[in-house]
Symmetry: C2
């Protein structure tokens, strides 16, 4: 039985990320789970206009998207609770830079995507930033036969509806494959 | 030890959705996991320009985002393997319409978000569609005390790196809360 629940966002769970930018010449990190993939190799983020990070992304036309693992949940949540205006959040982590030189990344996060800003969308209360990934950095121990293995990454998944973080479960089917069984059934 | 893996998209896992649109006056569904949240109450999708669905989203300025559960994995994967040009994918599901009247939704999916198109981004090979959610429909048995419970929804999570579908794991921490422990430690 269907029920209406208002215009509620239910595109969850989403991977929780730490977005890095240089603000006033110093690295800063903000917790963002409202992100997504756009086009080929692009990430779209949405950040409230009041946040400290925006000026840095605009100034340097670059940012990073870092994937923390479950053991970093306190630090990850904390970076969404306090502002870079008031607190030096970069002191929580070891920062490194990559090809662009202006997108700070977090050594402790198993995956880091370095992005060049290609488009900014002006929403009423948010900026939408679309970045093209220029390089991805991965902890070697999170690869299995050269492929990123998310059972090793152990990402933090956000569900906003119950305001909770969730773990990733088990791999259970092959994508672009399991549906072929239905294709065969239908054509036979 | 960090290693570079090229400009690889690693914003995963992402919830796999079935995006609905009326094309040539008939409901059609396409599998999309490259989606994200933008601004408040908006969903951004990215669809390859060659796909059949685009004309319907543009014509009706509306679409739906349906969240299938793990037991629908064959049908979900199948909708990404075949084109609405060749196959009537709507016959796999029971379709219903909501407030807009032009965004077909799937009865069997535990969650359906009905969206009004508010912006289209022209990427080289993809259209980026940004939709504002106008209403969300949920199976009553997926609510716990009125809140959407993703352990009941059982979404299908895509990881593109290993081309696999994954299940959601366990809830393990409160968001906008667990980081307060660090805040207290730092100020004490």
């Amino acid at each position: 039985m269907k029920t209406t629940i208002g215009a509620q966002t239910c595109l969850y769970p989403m991977p929780t990320t730490l977005v890095g930018a240089n603000v006033n010449g110093k690295p800063n990190y903000i917790t963002i789970a409202h992100a997504g993939l756009m086009s080929a190799g692009c990430i779209a983020l949405s950040i409230n206009k009041v946040r400290y990070t925006n000026a840095g992304i605009k100034e340097n036309e670059s940012f990073s998207v870092n994937i923390p693992s479950v053991e970093m949940v306190k630090e990850t949540d904390y970076c969404g609770l306090v502002s870079g205006k008031d607190v030096d959040k970069a002191e929580l982590f070891e920062t490194f830079y990559g090809k662009l030189g202006t997108a700070p990344m977090i050594q402790e996060c198993p995956i880091n995507m370095e992005c060049r800003l290609i488009q900014t969308i002006d929403f009423p209360k948010h900026y939408g930033f679309i970045g093209e990934i220029v390089e991805t950095y991965c902890d070697e121990q999170c690869l299995t036969e050269g492929v990123v293995d998310f059972s090793k990454v152990q990402p933090i998944l956000l569900v906003r509806n119950d305001q909770s973080y969730w773990k990733l479960g088990d791999r259970f089917a092959k994508a672009w494959d399991v549906g072929k069984q239905l294709e065969v059934q239908k054509s036979s």
